[in-house]
Chain length 458, copies 2
């Protein structure tokens, strides 16, 4: 027996654009949080017009609409927690335009970030934002969450590359923001508001992205330390020195051990902390000079080993350590509670100490790694969701983590968003007044609360 | 006889903080548009608490409040067009904190931009945004209008340097955004919304600003051309080459003639168009190499003279040409209608042609100069407001200017804002839907329409 919603959607769209069987809906019910909620239907738009049609229908019938990229988020941004229609952009994956001279591209939101980066790389161009999920997450999802990545400190995050967006409002109206390759100073910056709004204000249907020239020279080193704090000191000292490495990744000892078991890289020795540092640029002399400065700082801060990549292969091996973290952590505990905080680089040594204390106090194993150059740490609590007593300790530990983060002038989300998992902490960061203002903005965009309802605000 | 408003304000604040005589109010009734509107009172806050107190009072009594920096805007942003209370930040001018290591400062909004830049320069630091009004406009005004400046192309505009703001909402509540030296990914980007909102959403009371290291090497050239289009071609070609000059200023022949009469620089010859180009950086070799590339492009595009600064004095002389434009133009026509547009750098040659055609068609003298590296041109219509017939032609010419700007993918305001003078054109740029959404945001922030009413939307 078909539901009314099913009938309506199949009347409005092609048969293959509407998924309603339970099996199909289950595929769109989860994300990387391990939580899941069954949508009432799934709709696969082919164009902006499809999205307009859908939003007009949803607006008329007051049905929730939940935009979805790859469903790889860590905070529940794409979960249909109140049911409704999941709008999956998996069939809107085109590069509509690439201007190699002016260095920008116009893309559809369902395009996978790595595929886009690979495509432009053929022309000597770089799309820098590279979240760890780069191989499967989509540009639309990256814009919605304002994804960062390994190159954030030097090159900035997704926000810094968005030149314009087209978005469908809750009424079905379409707005366009930005211009394609120059500054845009329209009075209220709707574009900045949409970027990072976690799919709660409008549905993004086109994105104009800025590209840069691929750097010609890159020097890479993996530095090991006996103390986590020493590695954190290197990050703080590098930031203070004025050198901006393109990559400055921190990995703690437990995470490293786990990775080394998983990937078997014999050259790399176990240690309490590791930094993966890369310096890039278009002037060889300058790159070399900055790299020397970085190596000097590492030595001063008691690095016990510096592995400098001499060949492309060396470099790939060093990178393998970083790229294998997520997969290898999955092997050591059934549940990962993956939090994502950001503190000023100068506060990293203190933050790393605090995380150690929290781990001991609540008897929870914590693995820490992340984009330290950005002050952005992925703090991963290793646990088992079947162990209720342990999960309570994890919850307390997470609370404490966020309290210390804010105390150090940090922020609750480097790049994963607030979603459902962090909504209870948001007030700590932006205050009652900030939340009040954000709720008013949500109402201004979406008075009936039909776009991705139940997110951000608890 | 004191008005009720006068009585209330003098009860709430110190005597010297409230100005109510007609003479005093006249001083706060105008800006650079030559329009003027008398406020009912002027209030000079000393602190955030003063602004809170004032907003609570204004909120209760539904009185308009108009924030004011130096009153040097070109679009009427600080004009009290519906009367009410002008809040002048002239007594909130402190640098509250300067962190030379982490390279940021916390300032009050009334501080004059040049004074701030001079202060940080002592410590080898650069605050890059430098609108032409830098010597008298304030940081608060610069943030409200998202001021650009001569270094915009390489270093970005005010938006790119704001790390955080404190602002008082229409209810008197205070919000804070951003953190002081790292990325902030709170879900709705209130900070971006406030920057450039022309003082219509909230009153900014503190600003955290990012600083950069002062570049160690600078090469400067003044290039002259027989054809405006050739100069525009240099800009387009430089942009395409990948070299990003720190300064790339365009001046047309009429403007140059006017300047040369005013400042008497004998070394500089008259010509149809001039570019002032500066390349900077911290690596001498790279700066020299980029500069050579720029000189090569100038020669290819038929520059008839290249004056390269050999000494600090040479450089100051070349700069004098650019810095004297505003003052010297004042001498040749009683009224200047100063418009501010932005087009993609690649479209500059076409735009320059269109401006010439508009000038001929409507028989209006137009002087054009500006931050060409940004695609940002200040198009100045020379006229006499007493000549009604001429002013009608100017109005038609301005309409046509904006139409061509949008057609070339440009935007109506590079850095001056919309204010009252451009509100009728805004819909052309952002569409009915965009305006609708912006109005909803205005209502969300300011439901009673008491903060700087009558601006942006016509």
């Amino acid at each position: 027996m078909k539901t009314e919603l099913e009938n309506d959607l199949t009347r409005l769209f092609k048969k293959e654009q509407v998924l309603t069987s339970k099996e199909e809906r289950i595929c769109y019910s989860y994300d990387a949080t391990n939580k899941n909620f069954l949508p009432d239907a799934v709709m696969l738009p082919h164009s902006t017009e499809d999205v307009v049609k859908l939003m007009r229908y949803a607006h008329q019938h007051k049905i929730a609409v939940v935009p979805r990229g790859a469903g790889s988020g860590y905070t529940g941004g794409s979960l249909p927690i109140q049911g409704g229609i999941v709008v999956s952009f998996e069939q809107m994956t085109k590069i509509l335009h690439l201007d190699k001279e002016k260095k920008y591209a116009l893309v559809e939101p369902g395009l996978i970030t790595q595929q886009f980066a690979d495509h432009v790389a053929q022309f000597g161009l770089l799309y820098p934002p590279d979240p760890s999920s780069v191989k499967f997450s989509t540009l639309g999802g990256n814009v919605a969450e304002c994804a960062g990545g390994l190159k954030g400190r030097k090159y900035g995050v997704t926000r810094n590359y968005v030149l314009g967006v087209e978005a469908v409002l809750s009424s079905g109206e379409v707005i366009q923001t930005g211009i394609l390759d120059e500054k845009d100073e329209s009075p209220y910056d709707l574009q900045s508001l949409l970027i990072g709004s976690e799919g709660t204000l409008a549905l993004i249907t086109k994105i104009a992205l800025r590209l840069v020239d691929k750097p010609q020279y890159e020097n890479t080193v993996l530095a090991t330390f006996d103390q986590m704090e020493d590695a954190a000191e290197v990050v703080a000292a590098t930031t203070a020195s004025g050198v901006i490495p393109s990559v400055l990744e921190f990995i703690d000892g437990d995470t490293l051990e786990c990775v080394l078991e998983y990937v078997r890289l014999d050259d790399i020795e176990k240690s309490e902390a590791v930094l993966l540092i890369e310096v890039d640029g278009k002037n060889k002399e300058e790159v070399d000079q900055e790299f020397e400065e970085v190596l000097k700082i590492c030595k001063e801060k008691k690095s016990k080993g510096l592995q400098v990549a001499q060949t492309k292969e060396d470099k790939d091996n060093l990178w393998k350590v970083r790229r294998s973290i997520s997969a290898s952590l999955l092997k050591i505990a059934p549940t990962k509670v993956n939090e994502d905080i950001c503190v000023p680089a100068s506060q990293l040594p203190t933050m790393v100490k605090r995380i150690k204390e929290i781990s001991e106090k609540h008897r929870v194993n914590i693995n820490t790694f992340g984009h330290a150059g950005d002050g952005n740490l992925h703090v991963t609590f290793m646990c088992d969701s079947r162990n209720k007593e342990q999960m309570e300790r994890v919850e307390k530990a997470v609370d404490e983590l966020f309290k210390h983060t804010l105390k150090l002038g940090g922020t609750l989300s480097g790049e994963h968003g607030i979603g459902v998992t962090k909504s209870k902490y948001l007030e700590w960061e932006v205050g009652k007044e900030g939340i009040g203002m954000m709720k008013k903005i949500k109402s201004a965009f979406d008075p009936d609360n039909i776009i991705n309802p139940g997110k951000i605000f608890s």
